[in-house]
Structures are given as C-alpha cells and as structure tokens.
Amino acid sequence: MKSGSNLEGLLERGEFVVTGELGPPRGTDVEVVKAKAAMLKGNVDAVNITDNQTAIVRMSSIATSKILIDQGLEPTMQMVARDRNRLAMMSDLFGAVALGIKNMLCLSGDHQSFGNHPEAKNVFDIDSIQMIHMVKTMRDEHKVISGDEIEGNFEMFIGAACNPFADPFHYRVHRLAKKVEAGADFIQTQCIYDMKRFREFMKQVVDMGLHEKCKILAGVTPLKSVGMARYMDTNVSGIIIPEEIIDRLRAAGKGNVAAEGIKIVCEQIQELRAMEGIAGIHLMAIEWEHKVPEIVKLAGLLPRPTL
C-alpha cells in the first residue's frame, strides 16, 4: 500500500469506485462544509476538495480536508501549481500527511484571469506533471526535491487529472502517459459528455496499457438545466456537450429537466462502467451535492463497499 487510503484499498481490490467532489466555502463557514459532507457520506469512497477552483479564493483545501476527516469522510486534497512554489507545496504536503490526508490530486490550476483576483501574480514554479514526480519522490525516496531526507512517514496516493476533450486530441493520451510515467497512481478525467470521443480516447489508453499502470476514474457531472449545459459547453474550457444531450434536456420540458439530467448521468455511468480500463467514476455534482445520494442509488452504486 502506498498510502493506506480507502480509495487505494478499494481500487486495489478491484472495486468500481465512486469519488465525489466538494467545493469549500468562500469564507470560514465550517457548517457549509459539514452540510455538504453529510450529503456525501456513505455515498462515495473519497471526496475531492478543490483548491481555489476557477481561481476564486476559498477555504484552503488542506483545512477543508481535515474537517472532512473529522466528519468521517476520506478527502482527496487537490493542489494547484498556480498558487504555490515548490517550497510551499512540500510544506503543505508535510502538513497534509500530518493531518491524516492520504490522497491528493496534482493540477495546473485554472488561470487566475478566470477568478476573483485576476490582478494576482501566478506562480507555476513547477507544473502538474513535475508535481506528481515531486510527490512520488517524497513518498518512494523519502526525500524532498533537493535530496534532503524527510523526517517521519510520508505516504500519499497520488492522483492527476486528464482532459480527453482538450486539444490537440491525438496528443492527449501521450500527456496522460507522461503523468503515469511521473508517478500518478490514479487519474480523474474532465466531465465526459461526448462518449464517442471518450471511447476513442480510452481505446488509445488501453492500447498503450496505461490502465494497467494507473487507475482511471471517469468524470461525470449531472446537468441541472439547458442553460447550464449551454454555459458549460461554451464557457468551460475543455468541455464538449453534444447537441443530442442538450436536445434531450430541452425535450424533457419544464419541471422535468433536472430529473432528465440525472437520468442521463446514470446512463453515462452505466456506459462507463462497462468500458474497458475504467476503474470508477468521479462524480462532480457542482453545488448539487444533495442529489448525490439519489444519483448513486439510481446508478446502482450503493451500498459502497468497505475495506
């Protein structure tokens, strides 16, 4: 075991895992975190805690992760390269391990121009792939980048993201291969709507045998409304929503769109579950955490297995 985390254990046992996502509050309100955590508890195997997502300042990922641990959930602490240099990253990782955090996700991070402090200076001392390598070095060689020994234990299950819908498409699998080579133990993909393109991508992944070196969790996000679908398709980088999905939502009619969105996501989960190389799903119910119990139930993913 690399970290002894629930997520790692279930994946090692070959369970089809479910991870959730929780966006920390834009302030100090612990109750917001606890309320969202309560909706996810028992419905997912680990919860990603975003790190100033879309470059909007929020409660830190590390602190929110600790609150989750105290609530009896397992966090996956996200870390972006935008806001920290290598010193701050390693220091926060020591703190994370000390607080009992066992999973992390290495990300570049959205550019600060998207957020509420576009005037900020970004860092990008190291990129997300180098971050993966850094954490692996810390865990497997017990050393920081400089080569100095780490005092105490350092265990971590290392995750990374992958966006099969960004361009250039044919290079995406090679970038995933670089993440695997750098030391990623698991991958969570961007939200999948274009199943045809994702199938094509997964074929490349399987042909290269990457799914045998690293666990791949397929990202899904239920669509609440036609407006949300349109917005994500146009404004969120690297998301493609096929017209037929938007048509289905529209055809559902007033009052039934959200239910149709949930139906669609359940169908996507079934399709992904049957796909070669997919070890689980990453369910990102953005500000819709209260629907997670219903979605995982309808998708036949309950009860969650335990170690």
């Binding site: 990008f124 792939i129 390598h133």
Partner: protein, 230 residues
C-alpha cells in the same frame, strides 16, 4: 527587441504639472522601432504637452531631444546635450525602463551641482517580435536557460500562460489558450512543429523541474565579460 507603449497622456501630464521646463527625451533604438519612444514620438508628446498646458494658461517650456540609446553612457556623453538636460526641471524619458533608469543614473553621475529628475513616459511591455505592421508579440522572458532546442523553437515559458514545461494543459481548445481566443496555445504550436519535424518523441519524456536561478528569481542579474573589459 524591447517593446513599449506610451502611458496615458493624463498620467504623464500629472507627473510634470508642477514644473516649467520640461524635456521629452526619446530613444532611437528599440522603442523607436516599435514607434513608442523615438524622435517622432518625442515631438508628438512635446507638442501635446505644450498644447494642453497652453490651453490651461500655464507657462511651460517643453523641449525635445532624442539620443541613439539611453541605456548606454556612450550615446549621452555630449556636452551640448548635457547642458540642455541641466536646464530642464524634469525629464520625461520615453525609453524603455532600462533607458529611464540608466539616463537618470547617468545624468546624476555626470552633472554636478544639480539633481536631475527623470520620469517614465512609457510602459515597457516585453521582449517581442514584430508580427506585422502595428502588431508585436512577446517571445522571450529572459529566463537565462533557453529551452528552445527541445521545444521546436517555440518558448513555452513565455508563450504558455502558465509557463508549463509539460503542456498542453486541459484548457487548450482548437489551438487556442484558455485565457483568450486571441492567444495561440504554445503547446499546440510546439506539438505541430515537432510533428512536422518528425520529432514529437522529444517531448514524451517528463521535462524535469526548472532551475530558476538563472532567471530573475535568482535576483537581479549581471553579466561581466572579462574578455571585453578594458
């Protein structure tokens, strides 16, 4: 070359409003080529100041001079020119930031008995190339350890909004950067270039952590060439 853009007129006017003898000092090299701070632009700024202060009934004397390079002592060591500098209450340097600082340092070094005020008239923007008439783009950040040999001659540190060494990130779409449809994704360009060269395999290994010491992160930089020193 170094590119720059003129500061808003009102900002420049605010800098000099308490002075009567104002000199606009142009620079005949980089900023002249990008038409921000050369002889012609010095004349234009001087005229604008005369007109604006004149309209307010304020009596000012605005002169204009241009030297070949404000970043080099050699081009400013002219006694006639220095006499004019001495007579000015304030100098608006429309060189890049290097020129502004060097001119200020030089004048205060060589002109005795007078403190010379130098303020900037431009915002220095980047080291870039002239893409077409009236269009310049940033190409180099001066990181001190060039990676272009392995990135198909396209700099990811400068041209990727995140400076990624293992790109492209998940925000690359149709060859454009996530921050703007007007900005090309540097990594998309790198991949296309390397594919055309049949060298895509070169970026398949993980590019390791960059040593930022040769960059500005290592502190202000200097070059001392013993072979060139007198």
């Amino acid at each position: 070359m170094i590119t720059a853009e003129r500061k808003p007129f009102e900002e420049i006017k605010e800098y000099v409003k308490h002075y009567e003898r104002i000199m606009v000092l142009g620079c005949g090299t980089c900023v002249a080529v990008c038409q921000a701070g050369g002889e012609k632009e010095a004349q234009i700024l001087a005229s604008e100041l005369r007109l604006a202060f004149g309209n307010e009934g304020k009596k000012v004397e605005v002169t204009e001079e241009t030297v070949v390079r404000q970043c080099d002592d050699e081009f400013m060591a002219d006694m006639g020119f220095l006499e004019k500098v001495k007579e000015a209450d304030i100098i608006i340097s429309i060189a890049c930031g290097v020129g502004v600082q060097h001119a200020c340092n030089y004048f205060n070094r060589v002109i005795e008995g007078k403190r010379v005020r130098v303020v900037p008239g431009l915002n220095t923007t980047f080291m870039g190339a002239n893409i077409e008439i009236g269009h310049w783009e940033e190409r180099c950040l001066g990181c001190g350890d060039c990676v272009l040999e392995r990135t198909g001659g396209i700099c990811p540190i400068t041209r990727c909004a995140k400076g990624l060494l293992n790109g492209p990130c998940g925000g690359s779409s149709d060859g454009k950067c996530e921050i703007s449809k007007d900005i090309e994704c540097a990594w998309h360009l790198i991949i296309e270039r390397l594919e055309a060269l049949g060298e895509l395999d070169r970026i398949k290994p993980v590019e390791m952590y960059k040593d930022w010491r040769p960059s500005h992160s290592g502190g202000p930089r200097r070059i001392v060439r013993e072979d060139l020193r007198l």
